[in-house]
Symmetry: C2
Subunit: 326 residues, 2 copies
DNA sequence: ATGAAAGCGCTAACAT
DNA sequence: ATGTTAGCGCTTTCAT
């Protein structure tokens, strides 16, 4: 393994000069720099990040905690964060909590020492507990606004408003909502938006309950939706929505003729299903980049501890929505 | 931040004793141990992994490189690896190459210094180049057998044999194959299995070509499949298969009545589509655990450099396969 | 512009 | 069983 000393010896300079050549190149004589760089290159020198971190206090690592990687929504978020982090020369540690709230804080603590900052994606931990964790590592929340923390969220309530307006414009009077985890901030925000637009539009809102944010959750909810007499259903996310559609199809209920389905997230599968799923798009890439950017700015500026950024959502109308049955 | 010295001072012992208490507890006096542990606990002491790594040469980190996280197959593999790694108290760095072979070696080099071992999942880099990378960090290959490297693979050829036998038993005489990336080892293995079982069964094998391993790839291939006159099609993976089915449906071609579709991987969506997809199951969790286990054993034993482990595949017959049309 | 020296937090001989 | 000491590879004063 090539160390900085090897390069120093080869280039006939001191360690300090090699170090400077890499960190602040314009502090060394151009000739020296060239020589050092050549030798470093030749020897395949790669600075040891751990050693550097020991002294600078920076690890060059980011931590990312997500509830479930097999949810395509999170997979996309991860991809976005990954590429943004790499662009800033950061590596990312990833941890999947399997939707277990307990694991979140535990992982948070474990990760804290090894990274410069943590992105906590869609945390299921109660807000109060989140505020108590007391790790000194900066944390950026994604998909949840928490007082005292910078966060990147989307305007969930507005998304729901768009969905309800869309459905009522199509003549639907009774709309069901299949909720996600009760610990999900997004879920409660969406519920809030739904209630407000139900009032505005005069539509009947039927709460089907909370379901696991997986395909099976949608399958399980589908029969309740049909029994509710609703002509349209909005789901906590696309994965649930796909489960709903699947079960509807199985039961011979035609989508969108007999029941309209609206999802959330605009995962890739939404435009690949038959019929295609109408959905509220959450700009994952933008959110990912924004979160990394926010983290970077927290890492550089000392101030600005609690910047919160909210992104717009957008209704994507696809084939799945139709006029209410008569 | 609490360091080992703080704990040592508080417990009125030397740093070494604190260090020993944590790494080899039975080398210190029980009374001392209890006292040290109490103080460590109270002060919230957490050893600095970077500092430890600097001296032990171990980071406690694993690196994982995958072609595309948004492919549910890889998302599942990641989950499996994650939980296995966590069980051994390892953290995992993840990197997504976006299917770019060039990025693989680059990331490999960057990651090498920061981890104790690397899991290279479905590498697209040519085998010869892989053998040249010359990082001293142990590498375990997944879904590719490379001479000189330990690897975890599945019996792709046998999987294809099962698929072809299944289809011919149903009366199909002309079977199309929609391939994946030409740089994929799995793809060439599958092609090999297909050729051999085509010979055995006397079925006509039509090579449709290589397609990106995404939904769009399947959509693009679908028309070529229909034009080929095949009554059944096997796809490189489930994602492509779903793309095929989607396009078939769009064109009014009924699956499985008019054309049978078989995929690979058994991703979650396969049992959620309409009709459900017949597929070759790749045991992702087992593979993930096996890979981590292999890496661990390489890290402890000095010998055993080139253990290769091959897992069985299994045909999962679902609604999508039917008797050939007359 | 460059070098010498100190030390980040920790572990591992070596002493006691 | 415990303490002392010497570094791991690097950055960063402080001299020169």
């Amino acid at each position: 393994m090539t160390t900085i000393r090897d390069v120093a010896r080869a280039a006939r300079v001191s360690q300090s000069t090699v170090s400077r050549t890499l960190s602040s190149p314009d502090m060394v004589h151009p000739a020296t720099r060239t020589r050092v760089e050549a030798h470093a290159q030749r020897l395949g020198y790669r600075p040891n990040r751990a050693a550097r971190g020991l002294i600078t206090g920076r690890t060059g690592n980011l931590g990312l905690i997500v509830p479930d990687l097999s949810n395509p929504f999170f997979a996309s978020v991860v991809k976005g964060i990954q590429s943004a982090a790499r662009a800033s020369d950061y590596s990312v540690f990833i941890a999947d909590t399997d939707e277990e709230a307990r694991a979140e804080v535990e992982l948070l603590r474990a990760l804290a020492k090894q990274v410069d900052g943590i992105l906590l994606c869609s945390p299921r931990t109660p807000q109060t507990r989140l505020q108590e964790v007391g790790v000194d590592t900066p944390i950026v929340m994604m998909n949840r606004a928490v007082d005292g923390f910078p966060s990147v969220t989307v305007d969930n309530a507005d998304g729901m408003r768009q969905a309800v307006n869309h459905l009522t414009a199509l003549g639907h009077r009774r709309v069901a909502y299949v909720g996600g985890p009760s610990t999900s901030w997004s879920d409660s925000e969406r519920r809030r938006g739904l209630r407000s637009s139900a009032e505005t539009t005069g539509a009947d809102l039927v709460d089907i309950g909370s379901f696991p944010p997986q395909f099976e959750g949608g399958v399980a909810a589908a029969d309740l939706v049909l029994a509710s007499g609703a002509s349209a259903v909005i789901a906590y996310n696309d994965v649930i929505a796909l489960g709903l559609m699947s079960r509807f199809t199985t039961r011979g209920v035609s989508v969108p003729t007999e029941v309209s389905v609206v999802g959330c997230d605009d995962i890739a599968m939404s435009s690949m299903s038959h019929p295609q799923l109408t959905t509220i798009a959450i700009p994952q890439h933008v959110a990912g980049r924004a979160a990394v950017g926010l983290l970077m700015s927290v890492l550089s500026d000392e101030e600005a501890e609690s910047r919160q950024r909210e992104l717009p959502t957008q209704l994507i109308v696809r084939a799945s929505t139709a006029v209410a049955p008569t």
